[in-house]
Amino acid sequence: MSEWVDACSVDDIETEDVIRFDHGGKTYAIYRSPDDEWFCTDGLCSHEQVHLADGLVMDYVIECPKHNGQFDYRNGEAMRAPVCVNLGTYPAKAEDGRVLVQVA
C-alpha cells in the first residue's frame, strides 16, 4: 500500500468544493463534501483531459467545466454524457488540520 501524502491544509478547500493536487507527475482532484468528508479522484476528465478542479461540486457530483459531464466523486462513476469512462479514486482523509491522500 502506498504512503499517505500530505496534500494541503483543510482550510484550502471550502465545503462542497474541489482543488487540484499535482503529485509524482500526475494530477488529482481533492474534494470536500457538503458533510466535510474528503475524497480524491484523477484530476483530469476522462472525456477530454480537462482539469476537473475548474468544475462545479454539487452534493457528491463533480461537473466537468468543458462539456458538463458528471462523475460521482465518491466512486468515480461516470454519470452524465459526454463522459463514459469512470475516474480512478484514491483514499483521502483529514488529520490534524491537514488533508492526506493515498496516491500511487
Partner: protein, 359 residues
C-alpha cells in the same frame, strides 16, 4: 473552388488534427474561483418559472389558433405558437443539453427530449455534436455545427429562416437512422455505446410524425401538422436570426472565443426566446454558467471581451456585409477589437487565420 472542406471526414479535418487545432487549449478570461463558483450555481426555480410560462403560452396560442382555424384571424396565434415551438425550443434544447437549465437532472432531461423533438434533432446524436462544437468551435472539418460555411450559400441561409433546408436534412437523417442505422459522419463523434439509442429515438420520432400525417389525412386538414411539425418551419426565423449572429462573419480556425463568437444585447422578448444565449462569448468560454447567470458573467468579464453589438439590428449590420464579402473572398472575416483592458489575442497561434484578409 471553395478552399474549406467542412466534411468531418475530409482534408481540413485531418489537417486540424495534424496542426493541433483539434481539442486545443482555448483562451479563458481569469475569474477568481469564488466568483466563478457563485456564477456556476444551479437552481430549479427560474427554469421552472420560465418553462411554465413557455408551455402556458404555447397552450394558449395553439388553443386560440385551433379555435379560430381556418380563419385568417388564427394567423397571429400560429405565428406566436410557431416561434415558441420552432425557436424557443432551440434554446431549451441547447441549455438542457448542457444540463445547466435546472439543478434537478430529470427536469433537464425531460425538457431536452421535448425540445429535441420539436427541433427535429435526434436527442442522442446532438448531445455529442454539441460537445464537439464546444471542443472545436468553428474549427473547419471538426465542428459539426458551423451555421455559415464559407463561401456562404445565401439561398440556403434565407431558406432556413423558414426551416426549409434544415428540416429537410433533419427528416432525411431521421429516416436514415430509423431504417439504416447511425450515419457514418455521426459515428465520428457519437460513441458506439450510444448508437442503439440514436436508432431508437429516430424510430420514435418517425412514428409520431407518421401518426400526425395519418391524422391529417383522416381529417382532410393540415391542422394536425400546424400543431406538430410545421411550426419547425414557420416558427424557425427567430432562432435562425439569433443563431447566425453567434459566429457569422467572424474568424474560423482560431482558439479564442473572443475572435469567433459574438455577444449581442437584445430586447427582453428575444432574450426569453433565446434564453440569454446572446451572451455567446461568455457561454462558450464558461459553459458551466447557467443561462440565468450569463448577464452577471458578462458584467464580470466584459473588460476582457470585444464590445458587444448593441442590438440585433447592429449585429446584422456588421455581419451581413461580411457574409456578402465572403462570397468573393473566402478568407475575409471581421476581426473584433479588444478594449485596452483586455489580454491580447495570441496572434502567434492565429497567424494563419488572422494574417489573411482581416481589416
Amino acid at each position: 473552388m471553395p478552399k474549406r472542406d467542412y466534411s468531418l471526414l475530409g482534408a481540413d479535418a485531418r489537417r486540424a488534427v495534424e496542426i493541433g487545432l483539434a481539442t486545443a487549449e482555448w483562451y479563458h478570461t481569469d475569474v477568481p474561483r469564488k466568483e466563478m463558483k457563485a456564477l456556476m450555481q444551479r437552481s430549479d426555480a427560474q427554469a421552472i418559472r420560465d418553462t411554465e410560462l413557455l408551455f402556458g403560452a404555447m397552450i394558449l396560442f395553439v388553443g386560440l389558433g385551433i379555435a379560430l382555424w381556418p380563419s385568417w384571424w388564427s394567423a397571429p396565434f400560429w405565428l406566436a405558437y410557431g416561434v415558441l415551438y420552432g425557436s424557443a425550443m432551440d434554446s431549451r434544447w441547447h441549455e438542457c443539453s448542457h444540463g445547466t437549465a435546472f439543478r434537478t437532472p430529470w427536469m433537464n432531461n425531460v425538457l431536452y427530449e421535448i425540445a429535441s423533438f420539436c427541433m427535429m434533432r435526434n436527442s442522442a446524436t446532438w448531445r455529442w455534436s454539441h460537445a464537439r462544437h464546444h471542443t472545436d468551435t468553428y474549427i473547419v472539418g471538426r465542428d459539426p455545427e458551423i451555421a455559415v460555411m464559407r463561401p456562404p450559400v445565401f439561398f440556403k441561409l434565407i431558406g432556413n429562416f423558414f426551416g426549409i433546408f434544415d428540416a429537410w436534412t433533419a427528416m432525411n437523417r431521421m429516416l436514415y437512422s430509423a431504417f439504416l442505422g447511425v450515419h457514418p459522419e455521426e459515428k465520428t463523434f457519437v460513441p458506439e455505446s450510444e448508437w442503439p439509442k440514436v436508432v431508437r429515438v429516430a424510430r420514435i420520432s418517425t412514428v409520431i410524425y407518421l401518426a400526425t400525417i395519418a391524422l391529417a389525412l383522416a381529417m382532410g386538414s393540415i391542422l394536425p401538422l400546424m400543431v406538430i411539425g410545421l411550426p419547425r418551419l414557420y416558427g424557425a426565423w427567430h432562432h435562425v436570426m439569433t443563431g447566425l449572429l453567434q459566429h457569422g462573419g467572424l474568424a474560423d480556425n482560431v482558439t479564442d472565443h473572443r475572435l469567433n463568437s459574438r455577444t449581442v444585447y437584445m430586447n427582453p422578448v428575444s432574450r426569453f426566446i433565446y434564453w440569454n444565449m446572446n451572451y455567446h462569448v461568455e457561454h462558450h468560454m464558461f459553459p458551466m454558467v447557467p443561462y440565468h447567470a450569463l448577464p452577471k458573467l458578462h458584467a464580470a468579464i466584459r473588460h476582457d471581451l470585444p464590445a458587444p453589438n448593441r442590438s440585433i439590428r447592429e449585429g446584422f449590420a456588421e455581419m451581413w456585409p461580411a457574409l456578402v464579402r465572403q462570397l468573393k473572398y473566402d478568407d475575409y472575416f471581421i476581426k473584433r477589437e479588444l478594449p485596452p483592458t483586455a489580454k491580447p489575442y495570441r496572434e502567434d497561434f492565429h497567424t494563419a487565420a488572422l494574417g489573411t484578409a482581416a481589416e
